[in-house]
Each structure stands twice: as structure tokens, then as C-alpha cells.
């Protein structure tokens, strides 16, 4: 993982269903593990999807020392699309802040914080998954990135390769996504942050990487943070 691309305030955007929430939760937990002395928090700015959201991972986050900043009425009977009130202050707060944004043009909610995020030098990570049909090509990924930039007024600063087929992901699926990730990186003009994988699904992937002469340091291990309905 190219840690230089992470900033004290790091925003996660991407195509609907590309795994943004899962990545953002795991990123916040990993930063906290590496810097246990500094406060870490994650803000849920997803005003689009009421089924899978940061609030579902609240327990996991708190157990890992990360404070979840959730919409005040998340998962309650008065749940409405809203932005957590603590987010504006969190952008400049000491320590680390991850911001989990809604998919595609759901990034429009990010626009209201554009000047603060720009002033804070926030990183904007663009998550891609080559197994998602609408971003399965580098061109599709670029179109999606441009739509997000248009909606939010913020240009992504780095690329996250989260290519996976859920529990059916094989090592060859991740390996076959590396070329896609490089092409996305070139076409979008974004440096690559990491390739994500789930050790619970692919425990041997670092060894496979080593044996293929690849840099296992580019891998980012994640646990399942979003809700499994069944």
C-alpha cells in the first residue's frame, strides 16, 4: 500500500457497489492500528443506499478504536438521507478522518464540503472493481470517475483496485485485475494505492503474489465490514 497517498482526511468515492464502504471501514481500522495514539474516525456521507452502510459496521469500528460519525437517525424509523452534523468539524480535526461517500453521482453530497476538503488537502480515493459491468473496462471506470468529479466538484487523487467476485473470488481473479488496474490508473491519471483482498476468502494471495514475482506490499487485506443479509 502506497501510504503517501493517504491524507489525514481521506475521502472514498466510486461506482455503486464497488465496495467503497467496506474499503473505507477497513482503511480507517488499519490507520488506527498503525497509529494507535492518534484519534481516528469515519463519517458516513452515503445519502443514497439505505441497505449497506457504515452504521452496520459501528460495532466493529468502535472495537477497533475508530469513532463512527453517523447520520443522527441512521437505521431508525426517522432515517432520512442526511449528512452527519459532526462531519464539517472532523475534516480539520487532529488524527485521521475517512469519509465514506455514496455511489456514482451520490457524490453530489460531497460538494458542500468541497472548499473545506480542498483546503485540508484531502485525498480522494476512487474505488474500482473490474467485475462490476459498468466499470469493467478502463473507459467505463474513467466515465464513472468523471461523473463523480462533476457531481462533487472534487477530482480523485488515487485509485483503489477492489476487483472481486465476493466469496467466489479466486487468486486468478485478482491477478487478472492487475492489468485492468494499471490501465485505469493510466487512463484516469491516478496513482495506484493498492489492490484489495479478503484474507478470509484468499488466505494464500500474498504467497501467490510473491511466487509470481509481484510486490505483495501492494496488497491491502480487508475483513467483511458490511452486513451480510444472508
Amino acid at each position: 500500500m502506497n501510504e503517501g497517498l493517504i491524507r489525514p482526511c481521506t475521502v472514498v468515492v466510486g461506482h455503486y457497489g464497488s465496495g467503497k464502504t467496506n474499503f473505507a471501514v477497513n482503511l480507517a481500522l488499519s490507520v488506527k492500528r498503525r497509529h494507535p495514539e492518534a484519534p481516528a474516525r469515519i463519517a458516513d456521507l452515503d445519502t443514497v443506499n439505505p441497505y449497506f452502510r457504515t452504521a452496520d459496521a459501528a460495532e466493529l469500528l468502535r472495537a477497533g478504536g475508530v469513532e463512527p460519525l453517523l447520520p443522527e437517525f441512521a437505521n431508525s424509523n426517522v432515517d432520512i438521507p442526511m449528512v452527519p452534523s459532526a462531519l464539517r468539524a472532523a475534516i480539520r480535526a487532529p488524527g485521521f478522518t475517512a469519509v465514506d461517500v455514496g455511489g456514482d453521482d451520490g457524490a453530489v453530497a460531497l460538494g458542500m464540503f468541497r472548499s473545506e476538503l480542498t483546503a485540508a488537502g484531502a485525498a480522494v480515493l476512487f474505488v474500482v472493481n473490474r467485475f462490476r459491468p459498468l466499470i469493467a473496462t478502463p473507459e467505463g471506470a474513467r466515465d464513472c470517475m468523471e461523473e463523480i468529479a462533476e457531481a462533487s466538484g472534487l477530482k480523485p487523487t488515487a485509485l483503489v483496485n477492489n476487483s472481486n467476485l465476493g466469496a467466489e473470488t479466486g487468486a486468478e481473479d485478482v491477478l487478472s485485475s492487475l492489468e485492468y488496474a494499471r490501465e485505469c490508473s493510466a487512463l484516469c491519471g491516478l496513482p495506484l494505492l493498492c489492490h484489495c483482498y479478503m484474507p478470509a476468502v484468499l488466505p494464500d494471495l500474498p504467497r501467490v503474489f510473491r511466487e509470481a514475482g509481484l510486490d505483495e506490499g501492494e496488497l491491502f487485506p480487508m475483513e467483511q465490514a458490511t452486513r451480510q443479509l444472508f
Binding site: Y16, G17, P50, Y51, F52, N129, F131, R132, P133, L134, A136, N164, L165, G166, E168, L229, F230
Partner: protein
């Protein structure tokens, strides 16, 4: 596409419909099915189709009737309250003998209810959607792969029997993501749509699509002709899956997302020494009543598991026809039953045998 892709159930419905040649979508947003319309809005214009967000569900279903009258493959989708609004139009479509696909990604009801998954629209889908003597072919997917394959199948069934088909999914299947392979769908030989109002070009008599018959004998004739087709559907199109039913003392009956929970529960029960099996109806109408009746000769008890207060259980009782006791377990209002509570229910029945 020859390799698997990762999709939400709602997206899989939309992509499968486009692959099946559906170029016309009429809808209105409602959670948890809105991704069907969103996906159609992105994709259909690129393949020469049309996605139209209507001013209401009532408008959308009537647009669907028009598109289907013209002989095109067309569909609408909604979630429970929206299907209630569409039900008048669905009755007209059935009365006009029009093939089309109606998708219901169910949420909790009644009323505005909630946005979490439910199976509370079983009665509506299999008995009560719209007025008059009518049936829909009702298909119940249990995975994202089936959201795709049964969408394609529903269009073919609708065209074959010239009647509307419904895909009865739920919010969990609509929202969850699983790998899908689009390269595996079989194709059927389909009848030509000689009845379509697509222009005579001066070469034939004009076609009329209509559900109004003022003379009762004519209306009765049209219904009897329709019921002959329904009888053929019941004879030839029943689909179901069986899991470990051969030696089962207790047969669970569950469809959709609930069948996945039931599968895990029967495995747990078997570990504890209770022989349980599962019959998963894939077609809810026609219902696999013949097979259930046969199973009642070997099994000792039946358990219907649903995300409702008990609706399909009526069909299970009719099928078993008093041969064996039929009980029910369900959660409702958007709650998903856990494997543990279903297993406990099986164990309770096991003790009573």
C-alpha cells in the same frame, strides 16, 4: 459476456432483461427496486431502447400495456406498494392476453410499511393482483444468478402462453451482490406475435387488443380459452428444487431468500439427527402441488417457512391435502428469520413425531 460479473440482484434483472431483448422499461422509483430503473436508464439508450420514468405506477403499467400490445418485449418493476397501484393495469393486461414482465422486489407492508425485505405479497402475486379470473406466471428467484436467469425465462414463458409473468423477489435479493454468469441461458422457440397491433402495412386485417366484452357469453368464452392456456401452464411449467427430500421426515417448503436460510437449517437439523429436507418452489404459480402431495407419502410433517404471517402455507396445506400435518414459521415486517430459529422449529417438530 462469457465470464462472471459481480452484480446487485436488481442490476442482474435489468441486464438479463436487456439480454433477453427487452428494449422498453416503464417504471417509477421505490426502494428497494430503484436500481432496476437506474440501470435501465443508463443502459437502454445505448442499445436503442427506451427507459421511461412515468409520472406514477398507474401510468407505467398502462405504458407497458401499450408497448406489449405493439408486440415488443417490455417490462415494469416496482416494490410492494407500487404493485398495489399497478394492479388495475395488470388485470387489463391479463384480460388483453398480453405477454410482459412485472417485477416485484418486495418490502414490508401493509401500507407504506418499511424498506426491508419481505414475502408478504405471496397472496397478491398468486391470487389477488387485480380483479377478475386471472393468473400470472410467478417466478421466485433465490440468488442473484436466478434474478437474471428467471427474468429471461419469465419473458419466454409470457410470450409462449401470451400472459403476464411476475418475478417475485425481495429487498434482500434486490440489494445483495453475487457473481452472475450471463452466458448460460437457454433459448426457447417462441410463437410469432400475429396478434400485435404493429401496423397492417395494408396486408392483413387490423388487430384489436381489448379486454372489454359487453356480452357475457363472449366474455365467458374468452375466459375459458384463457383457462385452457392456464391448464397447460400448470401441466408443463411447474419448477422446483429439492434438497435431501428422499429420506426426509420433515420437509420444509420455502422460496426466495428464505429457502437459503432453510437450506442451512436442514443441514443443522441433520447434524442433530433430525432428517429434514427442502422443497423450494421456483414457480409459485403454477405451484408444485403434485410433487408436494407425493412427498406426503414418505415425509411425516411439513413446515412452511416464510417472511410473512403465513401465506404460501395455504398452498402447502392444499397440496398435502390432509395427509400430513403442515405447520408454519415466519418473521414479518422486514425481519429475516435466522438459521437458529428455523432449526429450533424443525427440532420442535422432530420431537413431536
Amino acid at each position: 459476456m462469457s465470464e462472471k460479473v459481480l452484480m446487485k440482484g436488481n442490476e442482474a434483472i435489468a441486464e438479463a432483461a436487456i439480454s433477453a431483448g427487452c428494449l422498453y422499461f416503464f417504471g417509477y422509483p421505490i426502494t428497494p427496486q430503484t436500481e432496476v430503473a437506474e440501470y435501465m436508464a443508463r443502459r437502454l439508450p445505448k442499445v436503442g431502447g427506451l427507459c421511461l420514468q412515468a409520472e406514477s405506477e398507474v401510468a407505467a403499467i398502462n405504458m407497458l400495456m401499450g408497448a406489449s400490445s405493439a408486440g415488443t418485449r417490455a417490462m415494469t418493476s416496482s416494490s410492494s406498494p407500487g404493485i398495489s397501484l399497478k394492479s388495475e393495469g395488470i388485470s387489463y393486461i391479463a384480460g388483453c392476453d398480453l405477454p410482459c414482465l412485472i417485477v416485484n422486489v418486495q418490502r414490508g407492508g401493509p401500507g407504506l410499511g418499511g424498506i426491508q425485505p419481505s414475502q408478504q405479497d405471496y397472496y397478491q402475486a398468486t391470487r389477488g393482483v387485480g380483479h377478475g379470473d386471472l393468473r400470472l406466471i410467478v417466478l421466485a428467484p433465490s440468488s442473484v444468478q436466478e434474478m437474471a436467469s428467471l427474468t429471461a425465462e419469465a419473458f419466454d414463458l409470457a410470450d409462449t402462453y401470451r400472459m403476464p409473468a411476475m418475478l417475485l423477489a425481495d429487498g434482500a435479493l434486490g440489494q445483495m451482490m453475487e457473481p452472475v454468469d450471463f452466458s448460460v441461458f437457454p433459448k426457447r422457440e417462441l410463437p410469432e406475435k400475429t396478434w400485435a397491433t404493429n401496423g397492417t402495412k395494408g396486408k392483413r386485417k387490423k388487430n384489436i387488443v381489448n379486454s372489454l366484452f359487453i356480452e357475457p357469453d363472449k366474455l365467458e368464452q374468452s375466459i375459458l380459452a384463457r383457462y385452457e392456456r392456464y391448464a397447460k401452464v400448470e401441466a408443463e411449467e411447474v419448477r422446483f428444487e429439492e434438497v435431501m427430500t428422499e429420506d426426509a421426515d420433515i420437509v420444509l417448503v420455502a422460496f426466495g431468500i428464505t429457502a437459503r436460510i432453510a437450506k442451512s437449517a436442514i443441514a443443522e437439523a441433520r447434524k442433530a439427527g433430525v432428517k429434514a429436507g427442502l422443497l423450494r418452489p421456483i414457480t409459485l404459480w403454477p405451484f408444485p402441488k403434485k410433487r408436494l402431495n407425493e412427498l406426503a407419502d414418505t415425509a411425516k410433517a411439513f413446515l412452511s417457512v416464510e417472511m410473512s404471517m403465513g401465506q404460501m402455507v395455504d398452498d402447502v396445506r392444499l397440496a398435502v391435502n390432509g395427509k400430513r400435518p403442515v405447520s408454519f414459521f415466519g418473521r414479518t415486517g422486514g425481519m429475516i428469520p435466522s438459521v437458529e430459529e428455523v432449526t429450533a422449529e424443525i427440532m420442535k417438530i422432530g420431537e413431536s413425531l
